[in-house]
Point group: C2
């Protein structure tokens, strides 16, 4: 990932459906170069799966909540697997510090969320949880600032 790659990504962020030819022209690069770099990024894991672009909202799950949990560390693998078994669990991190887990959850409505929180709490190995509803997205997910910096360097 050098500055050129970052520039390509920036252009793509602005217009996801831009063709390779368009990108090449816009960036003053050869079509071949862009094609190679995009392929390399796609291959080398610089780009995550397409799923990341899908809004849970569109799937009828407008609510997002974060469940923090303390777990019996010896049963972490077990807990992790159980969490992965819950469809509405979208992302789970193992944390340092007070709480061991951060579980990102989406839900259709408040009742749905309650149900899911219950399922999480019922997982053997989980000792205590706290659920916080995401009421507002103050800064929507973005990487442009970092991209810009990388593109400049």
């Amino acid at each position: 990932m050098d500055a050129t790659d970052a520039r390509i990504l920036l252009a793509l962020a602005a217009r996801p459906r831009a063709t390779v030819v368009a990108l090449a022209e816009q960036l003053g690069l050869s079509r071949n170069t862009v094609q190679a770099r995009v392929a390399r990024m796609e291959q080398g894991g610089a780009l995550g799966s397409f799923e990341r672009r899908i809004t849970p909202n569109a799937l009828g799950h407008p609510l997002t909540a974060f469940v923090t949990a303390r777990v019996d560390q010896r049963r972490l693998a077990e807990v992790s697997e159980a969490l992965a078994g819950i469809d509405e669990v979208v992302e789970v991190f193992g944390l340092s510090g007070e709480t061991d887990l951060l579980v990102r959850v989406v839900a259709a409505d408040a009742e749905d969320l309650y149900r899911i929180a219950g399922r999480i709490l019922a997982i053997p190995g989980i000792e205590r949880t706290a659920t916080a509803l995401a009421m507002r997205e103050l800064v929507p997910h973005r990487l442009t600032p970092l991209l810009r910096r990388a593109a400049a360097g």
Copy 2:
């Protein structure tokens, strides 16, 4: 977003670079239909920005951390703006419950993270913060399970 849309998204999740023609064939739909639906989803906000597919890791920021913060509610707008001014702040949620804010941060290394945490804490209106390092991604971001459910229904 009906079941057909979900099926299209599932196919796309499996092969992001699949062409419309390929999708149509795979799903037994007309090319026209797929093209219309994809366009509609892209237009209607079912798909978030392309940036979501970019791994911070590829940009030289392999570390992810979550900073929770209590803020002076009357200065929320101000705080939010200041957070948006920090490049490494990738996402911010306003939460219900104990803590007011959840700030998702990426960093190049531990020292970088320390610096960023400092910048956040220095924001006027922020009263207390706690930083938790994401040590492991136990369940990587995914939407497939929900998609599958939507595709079945």
